[in-house]
Point group: C2
Chain length 327, copies 2
């Protein structure tokens, strides 16, 4: 029975917390309301553009899988993490001068840079508010995560168009950029439910791995595209960002040199198209999927110390979903 | 004796907490350190450019004036408020594309917009960290203050070059923009020392008023200049910002129309020079000083319910110092 359920979970991992998910939405909307009509509208514009809500999901599921019963606090905390994540996207888009996010104009393109910057700050504040009065350990982790998010931006910039970048550098960057906030959210959920350090460590390991895999798949999708509307491909390449497909492609014995040449300069549009072709030709995408699959298996393995439950199965389903998006 | 001391306090209000002030500096430097060399350097660049440390001062003095004994927590919390304030200046400078702050190049001019934006986020996170685990009431106030800071940016933008702006609109803007973080800092200090609601309310009133007066004087200095190096005048006018000198000057029976004409358009350099002359000619600066003095007297009056102490005298000295800067 559990086995059959587990298969269904790959596609339906979120069903088990659908009540909590709708409370997360209500909490987010409430937290971001403002008497200032335009600010209110801006927050709603960006938060309702269809994120996957991975951070609230891992917070709530980790809480339940570790034996937690009353989901009201993890719902609020998970909403807080989603708001923090969204705030970081608003500032990232300003940073990269991104035009489209989730099929819509980015906030600073829709309104203005200065208003988007300030609205991002507002969301940061409101996000922290939702975290409330957490125990010392998760609070330390959250601050550490936020610091690492910023530091990883600096490291990433140092490696733009920089041929020295290695897979290890890449893993360091995406740990800060993507994984750490997912880790903070999941581990906070676990802390709220249990004092069992082995379980908390398992959730830490699991969430680190799914965070890394999540970003790897994002990098892949920048090369092969997605079924979402309005998502351009090749943006990372045009910005000279260090991504896993590019790093693997640069290592190819025959085609690697041309990829390196393009990566090391500010590319023309023709360069970007050529680089996308080269990356596909080198087999780098398969290498990336193999790596992401490997990491996801490690994530699932980490959960073995947790008692079996439908929530644990749901965490496994979420992990599998992450590498199967658009596949 | 107390009376003689009180006179000296106008210039020497900070002497009594000089030990705490140096601990505030150490705390700030520790909180903003980063393993990333450039981020570390950016934080130090901006924080060490000589702010007046009004927010830590009111936090520590309010705490002591309300009977607090061990200043270690208000020192850390005050440092947190100074960091939050500095973070907001970094983002404000990006917002306004400001070039000079406290006699130095602004952070985004010295480094880059994208790095300054992210460094500002880092400071926000680190600032919140210093606030630690405060009681519910001051924490609510801090979040409210941060929200109002953002909202006031929106209101201010709505009134740029807008002839409808009134003194009441102006007071609403500067309450959010400047006063509220000073209030949050002072009231937190009071909360940490006492449960006496009358005293806390007095500190609330006092800090609101000195915050308002502080911004009024800043607006005056944009017209008449300061003795600081590198500070340009007329920046607010060139940006069409609603300031008290401009609002008063626009009300002048003869010269007001020309001020209004300039305010309502994007001014040329010649317009800015002419507007500065007009504001001086209308007597608006005297009106502003009269208003600021009035507000400072109200601030000092509010303290009457507090028991006499050298700390209370120091708060009075700080209030007087605020309206005497560069006078």
């Amino acid at each position: 029975m559990l086995r059959r359920y587990a298969y269904a979970m790959v596609d339906h991992w979120a069903d088990i917390i659908s009540t909590e998910f709708s409370k997360v939405e209500d909490t987010i909307m409430g937290a971001l309301s403002s008497d200032n009509k335009e600010l209110d509208e801006m927050c709603k514009y960006v938060i309702s553009s269809g994120g996957k809500r991975v951070r609230p999901a891992v917070c709530i599921l980790a809480y339940l899988a570790c034996g937690g019963k009353d989901t009201s606090i993890p719902v609020t905390v998970g909403a807080g993490f989603e708001i923090l994540h969204t705030a970081s996207l608003v500032h990232d888009d300003i940073d990269d001068n991104g035009e489209i996010r989730r099929g819509r104009k980015t906030l600073h393109k829709q309104y203005s840079l200065t208003k988007a910057l300030v609205a991002g700050d507002y969301m940061l504040v409101r996000g922290y508010r939702c975290l409330g009065r957490l125990p010392e350990e998760p609070m330390d982790l959250i601050i550490k995560a936020a610091g690492m998010m910023v530091e990883s931006e600096f490291i990433q910039k140092d490696f733009e168009h920089n041929l020295d970048v290695t897979v290890d550098d890449y893993l360091e960057i995406i740990t800060g950029k993507t994984a750490m906030l997912i880790v903070a959210s999941a581990v906070t959920g676990a802390y709220l439910a249990t004092e069992n350090t082995e379980w908390i460590e398992a959730i830490n390991e699991y969430s680190t791995k799914i965070g890394l895999a999540f970003q790897m798949v994002d990098d892949i999708l920048d090369v092969i595209g997605t079924s979402n509307t309005g998502k351009k491909i090749g943006i990372d390449i045009s910005e000279g960002k260090p991504t896993l497909p590019t790093i693997y492609a640069m290592q190819h014995p025959e085609l690697g040199q041309e990829v390196r040449d393009i990566y090391s300069r500010v590319p023309t549009d023709a360069d970007v198209i050529r680089a996308l072709d080269l990356i596909r030709l080198t087999g780098a995408i398969d290498q990336c999927y193999t790596k992401a699959d490997e990491v996801i298996l490690e994530a699932i393995d980490a959960l073995s110390v947790l008692p079996d439950s439908e929530y644990k199965q749901s965490l496994i389903g979420l992990a599998k979903y992450i590498v199967r998006r658009n596949r």
